[in-house]
């Protein structure tokens, strides 16, 4: 460590020594602030987990069962499946591991200013484009980031970095619906991205943001060759270990190993074939059983018992903060918080986990902060209490219970199973709920509008991130239209603390508000799982469901 440590790293190190900072959280903070993963682990007094599962073998084809989606516009991808193909060719700047630690990718190291507003990014010098052999440079990185933040692109990266680096401005057009001027956004300053030399640049934001290195691992943040204008397809240039050689959306995609040497070591596989098996769980198992695929991207719950019994198949799983929440909007009868409490009291989360997710994961605690989150505070596990739920309903003026309808979608299959289980539990408390299953595409049209719905929430490394996205008054994804001033104020306070113990103290209050007044029933925390043939080595399932094939090999 020749470089100077960020002052916050020193502070965090002290807190850890005093026992105030969790080691895992220290690792995350230290690496985000530019400390190498190895160094951070040794500062935390831990050893970095080793990946080796024997000596890698060169050669062979891996066949992955996964939906094959359109790949033409990486910066606007909305599904992990698409990025799992493109990522093998067009890489990310950083890599956040299974351990929540962010490591270098195309970026070699980064340094943050003390106020976390300015970030100096240094690229590695040995990463080369496959076509042309030119090194990946600062102009390439800046072009990609600016393109993602351009309103005309439509990338979800905007949501992540908006407060940090974008500002709103009014257009001259009038929106006929609102009769007001249309609003758009742009970079807040011409120096937001500043090139220093060919391999170094600076990102200058208008506010503090610790998550810059993690944001570079956001799924659409692929580094494309500027000469290709943001498009991606067969033969597209990339810095990655593989080249896309065949693509038929809805059928298959084929990647082959790069031959001119790859900066990251490997790849070991000669060829990757992605086969689209549809959404059908039986097709999944059938393909595995007859060895037509070597790996399945995501397991369906219905297929799990069968996959567990196939002798040549291994089930991979990882605990995550992935979940889906049954949330209500403040309309009758849910405008009364006692009714919302009754919903929670009537739910037996342990039973839902056991039945709908076959016990893989942890029971939910209704406040949407998971045990895997560093600032999780234990405010007591809410056990099912039907009598209390009934009493609350009666108090709210519904002595005979209520009748309502919940919207949900059929895929992934565990969601519908969970809804059915909860509906059956609620029934005993006099909450009679009809289930309205709609195709996924339809559900995503109404997910922020239905009064009562069951919505997936992806894994995020911090509890406050989810709370900010889903429950802050007026937030774009606040699907429950819930608004609580005290909650908003406490949330802003919690976000301001780097010190996890201080954050935890505030989060405990936030959790209490969620339990008392909140709009959500959180039935479970999923363990993400998938299947691979036992001959597939070097693979570890990632909480984001990203797959990285450059480290994977097939045993002879």
């Amino acid at each position: 460590m020749t470089d100077k440590l960020h002052p916050l790293v020193t502070a965090a190190g002290r807190e850890m020594a005093d026992g105030k900072l969790d080691r895992r959280e220290f690792l995350r903070v230290a690496t985000l602030l530019g400390v190498g993963a190895g160094a951070a682990y040794s500062m935390a007094g831990l050893s970095e987990p080793a990946m080796a599962q024997g000596a890698p073998r060169k050669g062979g084809t891996l066949r992955l069962g996964m939906r094959v989606q359109d790949l033409s516009s990486p910066h606007t991808y909305s599904w992990i499946e698409a990025t799992n193909v493109a990522r093998q060719t067009v890489e990310y700047l950083t890599y956040t591991g299974v351990d929540n630690v962010t490591r270098p990718g195309l970026v070699e190291k980064w340094e943050a200013s003390p106020d976390l507003k300015s970030w100096k990014i240094s690229l590695r010098r040995d990463a080369k484009w496959r076509k042309g052999g030119r090194p990946f440079n600062a102009d390439d990185a800046i072009w990609n980031m600016k393109r993602m933040l351009d309103p005309a692109t439509g990338s979800s990266t905007v949501g992540l970095l908006r407060a940090f680096i974008l500002e709103n401005f009014e257009l001259d057009e009038i929106d006929p619906r609102t009769q007001k001027k249309r609003v758009s956004f742009r970079l807040w300053d011409s120096n937001a991205f500043r090139k220093i030399d060919d391999f170094t640049f600076e990102i200058n934001g208008k506010s503090s943001f610790l998550g810059i290195p993690e944001a570079m691992f956001h799924y659409p943040a692929h580094m494309l060759d500027p000469a290709e204008g943001g498009k991606f397809g067969v033969g597209s240039n990339g810095t990655g270990a593989f080249e896309l050689v065949e693509l038929e959306v809805g059928k298959r995609a084929v990647l082959t190993a790069r031959k001119d040497g790859y900066w990251g070591g490997g790849p070991w596989l000669d060829r990757i074939e992605v086969i689209d098996l549809g959404d059908d769980s039986a097709a999944q198992v059938a393909a595995l059983a007859s060895r037509q695929v070597d790996m399945i991207y995501q397991g369906a719950i219905a297929a799990l018992p069968a996959a567990e019994r196939l002798p040549h198949v291994q089930v991979n799983s990882v605990d995550t903060a992935y979940t889906a929440v049954a949330r209500v909007q403040p309309v009758k009868p849910f405008d009364d918080k006692r009714v919302r409490q009754a919903l929670r009291h009537a739910t037996d989360t342990e039973a839902v986990l056991k039945v709908a997710h076959r016990g893989l994961g942890k029971p939910g605690e209704h406040h949407h902060v998971a045990k895997v989150h560093p600032e999780y505070a234990d405010v007591g596990f809410m056990r099912r209490d039907v009598a209390k739920a009934k009493a609350l309903l009666a108090e709210a003026g519904y002595p005979n219970g209520i009748d309502t309808e919940i919207a949900c979608r059929p895929q992934p299959d565990w969601e519908l199973l969970a809804v059915q289980t909860m509906v059956e539990q609620w029934k005993e408390a006099g909450i009679r709920v009809k289930i309205n299953v709609m195709p996924s595409a339809q559900y995503w049209d109404v997910w922020t509008k239905v009064p009562f719905g069951f919505t997936t929430w992806a894994h995020r490394p911090l509890g406050v991130m989810v709370l900010g996205l889903a429950y802050r008054s007026g937030a774009a994804w606040n699907e429950s239209n819930w608004s609580n001033k005290e909650f908003d104020a406490l949330l802003a306070e919690a976000e301001g603390y780097l010190d996890v113990e201080r954050r935890r103290a505030v989060v405990a209050k936030l959790e209490q508000i969620m339990l008392d007044d909140g709009p959500a029933v959180v039935p479970l925390w999923r363990a993400l799982f998938n299947y691979s043939d036992k001959k597939v080595k070097g693979y570890r399932i990632h909480p984001t469901a990203y797959i990285e094939f450059k480290e994977v090999w097939i045993e002879g």
């Binding site: 033409s72 609003v183 959306v249 059908d280 059938a286 393909a287 059983a289 060895r291 995503w444």
Partner: protein, 312 residues
């Protein structure tokens, strides 16, 4: 004859127009917005609105429908939202796969059901008739999804002699032809069951006709009566029904295609309809309706040829 053909062609065109308009209008009624679908659930509303205007979706329904018809007449079927390719490319590929599967099934189903139907119908209520009829009736009664599930359990899981999915790409263990066995078997059993009953019924009727009885009484060997006189007449009525199976085989295979992960037309239509990919749904509807109408036309023409008493 020429007038008949002209009228039928006009009829087909009108129906196509009616169906495409209906699909267009009904699609308008269903909730959901293509721009949202293109950008995914997490895009901001501004981004969605932007794309919505860019795609011209804020214009009235009739304007867009007229534009669509104009494009189709120029051979442009539009671009698919989920596949992000020209609809024609996706459609031709999936339709090709389905036609291949349908052709194999048809080639198995027709001779099989004619043989069984004639065998059963030539001696009404004989043990052979009872046996075939009951078997056919049972086959036609087991839904494809149930039959598929039974077969998967037996041949893939238990015996392990056939591949469980049919992605149409050879692997070391499973050549492509083996991937066809289960889908074809499921479709054949279900559909042949129905055809056998139809042909049997017609055969029974013909065998009761005086000219057949006379032939038998005159001492003509029974097998010659069946092959020379009865069969030809017995196939007139089911002829249309047989042709109509083409229709089922093109647009009705969605269950089998889903079950065996076969990249065909039915699965494409289901996915497109679920995702409101209107360009694909429209093009698929055009194909399905054309196939239906053409098989009906062919049926009528063939009927005329087989039965000279019918004049149009």
């Amino acid at each position: 004859m020429a007038r008949y053909l002209l009228r039928q062609s006009l009829n087909i065109l009108l129906t196509l127009l009616a169906v495409t308009f209906l699909v267009f209008a009904l699609n308008e009624l269903t909730p959901g917005d293509v721009a949202r679908k293109l950008l995914g659930p997490y895009a901001t509303q501004e981004q969605v609105d932007h794309l919505f205007r860019e795609m011209g979706l804020d214009r009235p329904l009739l304007v867009r429908y007229a534009e669509y018809v104009g494009n189709v007449l120029r051979g442009d079927l539009g671009t698919s939202v989920i596949y992000r390719q020209p609809v024609a490319d996706v459609l031709l590929d999936r339709l090709g796969n389905t036609l291949l599967l349908a052709a194999i099934c048809f080639a198995v189903i027709v001779p099989l059901s004619v043989a069984l139907g004639v065998l059963a119908g030539m001696r009404e209520r004989s043990p052979l008739d009872r046996g075939i009829s009951v078997f056919a009736s049972i086959c036609a009664s087991i839904p494809e999804f149930a039959m598929g599930v039974f077969m998967l359990a037996i041949f893939v899981v238990w015996l392990g002699v056939l591949p469980g999915t049919s992605p149409m790409r050879a692997t070391a263990e499973w050549p492509v032809w083996m991937q066809f066995v289960l889908p074809v078997a499921v479709v054949t059993l279900y559909d042949a069951g129905y055809l056998v009953s139809m042909i049997r019924a017609s055969m029974v009727e013909v065998m009761r006709q005086p000219f057949v009885r006379t032939a038998v009484l005159k001492g003509m060997p029974f097998h010659r009566v069946v092959t020379r006189h009865a069969m030809r007449n017995a196939l007139i009525t089911p002829f249309t029904v047989i042709l109509l199976q083409l229709n089922y085989l093109v647009s009705g295979l969605v269950v089998v295609e889903t079950l065996f992960a076969y990249p065909g037309f039915g699965r494409m239509m289901l996915e497109a309809a679920l995702a409101k990919d209107i360009a694909v749904v429209e093009a698929g509807a055009l194909v399905a309706v054309t196939v239906t109408m053409l098989t009906q036309l062919l049926g009528d023409l063939g009927y005329m040829k087989l039965d000279p008493r019918i004049r149009i």
